[in-house]
Subunit: 325 residues, 2 copies
């Protein structure tokens, strides 16, 4: 089987390609090769099959036809600019996050028709809980409406609709997975407003201080990078017939308060780690986070076999195993 | 005030321009002129102000900048191809129903910036209950998710998202109104699968036979053309602050079964009219209609001042007054 991964240089894309390289197969089928692309060419990991790394801007209309010309069986469509950048640069956000996907599905449709209807790839699209916007019920149900309050969330919601329609039309076979906040994010602290959810775990585990800008009772919905890769692989191999016309799924996660995150850290790494968390309330971040979703009910994804961690302790242990070796 | 009406040659567009011409004002402000456009130039009614009729294809990128160059205060964005055509011709549907609106909002954004942020038009967009897709609860709530099962519904849902985002960004001030099935549609019977809802009322009122292809217990959500015009005028003049980020509203309507429609016809026009309805079950239409929504709960639109008829008798009387004089 041939696989295409866009956004392969991002945190999730990199981990996905590493996992596919390690497994050598997907859904029981041997992988013949991966095309891994991003705005800068990704660095391929060692693999038992060829990985072709390419630099592509999916906002350019000529790119998608080239990407799909090899008729990959599975397309992991991860390329996207992030929420903050899509808000700061409206043109760039719509070009990459919306037009890029439109170019993809049109290129697939053309190639599908050229194949006499034989080629119909599975698309796994990383959507986001940013498709939802406040005000929220305490727990957000699977059938809650999509009223995003960011351009990023708007673009993700539109891509979900396009992919559902083109699936219904029979040109492709898409699953859109709405990822929770990914925690614990590896790497250096970043400036995303949500960064502290990861910082207060990752930095103390390294013996470094971390700043907590919000109150201890803030609740949020998390999944580990390992769970996210699990979601992607399951979406790539699941039977899509039970999805019917509803191709977008909110992924399960662990809903915890900051206080519960801290107690999990204490259980896993002790009081010394917890003592490295410094409380420095930040009004701007408190206000931003105050408008975020806190909890999701995801019976649909769970019934379809998507699995997140059981609790936040497990999220921390996954981080230690995957990042501290 | 200056007004732009796209789709002005359609049933709703024509009635809207006639109503504006009769009123001479909108929301207490005198109308200085209307630009009325459609794919064929509309025929303007007599009016106390100039009406410029133009033929435009909104799918062409050069059109929207010309349409908004005069900086209209209110834009009624009705132009669209219908559900059946959008399903039969995928390219035409996406070009007109999606790209046309994208061109519009980009042209408005540019003109807004050129005006130094002074010009920020109200957009009234006619969306549709086709943004919803089965399976449905018995009564569909305001916050039910949008999972359309047609390309038309997909395109309307995407336009809602775009208009909400560009409103939030401050370039324009949009209200998307999801119209129920319009009943009683004037004119000749058409081939739309939903045509019978109107046919079984309109034709007997003219003394002509009408075919009923579905069972008497089929329930559906209706509003008269008169109510639809009322929705448009209210959306053009309402305070949009209470909408927050949620610019799309499901319009109220009258939810009745076919049996209740027929009894209303009997009350208004007698047994002789009812006797003109011929039952000719059609499996294809029964199956299509079986997947449709039956009833909506619309507390949000009602709280914001949108009003439909009280009952189906009132819908029939509005039809008689408006079409039979």
């Amino acid at each position: 089987m041939k696989i295409l991964v866009s956004g392969a240089a991002g945190m999730i894309g990199r981990k996905l390609v590493e996992r596919l390289a390690r497994d050598g197969a997907l859904g029981g089928r041997k992988i013949a090769g991966i095309d891994a692309s991003d705005i800068v060419a990704p660095t391929p990991p060692p693999a038992p099959f060829p990985i072709r790394a390419e630099a592509h801007d999916i906002a350019a209309g000529y790119v998608a036809p080239k990407m799909v010309a090899g008729r990959p069986d599975v397309i992991f469509w991860l390329a996207s600019i992030v929420s903050g950048e899509a808000e700061a640069d409206l043109d760039k956000g719509y070009s990459i996050n919306l037009d890029g996907t439109r170019f993809l599905i049109e290129a697939i449709r053309r190639e599908h028709l050229l194949s006499g209807g034989q080629w119909k790839p599975r698309i796994v699209f990383t959507s986001s809980i940013a498709v939802f916007g406040a005000p929220f019920p305490e727990a957000i149900p699977d059938d809650f409406h999509s009223t995003p309050l960011t351009s990023y969330g708007t673009q993700k919601a539109i891509c979900e609709l396009l992919l559902s329609d083109f699936s219904r039309r029979g040109f492709l076979d898409a699953v859109s997975i709405r990822l929770p906040t990914i925690c614990v994010r590896p790497g250096a602290p970043n400036k995303a407003a949500s960064g502290f959810f990861s910082n207060i775990i990752r930095e103390p585990l390294r013996g470094l201080p971390a700043i907590l800008p919000v109150d201890d009772d803030v609740r949020h919905h998390h999944a580990s990078p390992r769970a996210a890769i699990g979601f992607l692989l399951h979406a790539a191999t699941m039977d899509t017939a039970p999805l019917g016309g509803r191709r977008a799924l909110t992924m399960p996660g662990v809903s915890v308060t900051i206080a519960e995150q801290i107690e999990a850290l204490r259980r896993v790494a002790g009081d010394k780690a917890v003592a490295l968390i410094k409380r420095e309330p930040d009004e701007t971040i408190r206000r931003i986070v105050g408008g975020w979703s806190r909890q999701f009910e995801t019976p649909r994804a769970e019934a379809l076999g998507f699995r997140a961690e059981k609790d936040f302790d497990e999220i921390i242990r996954a981080h230690i195993e995957d990042e501290h070796g």
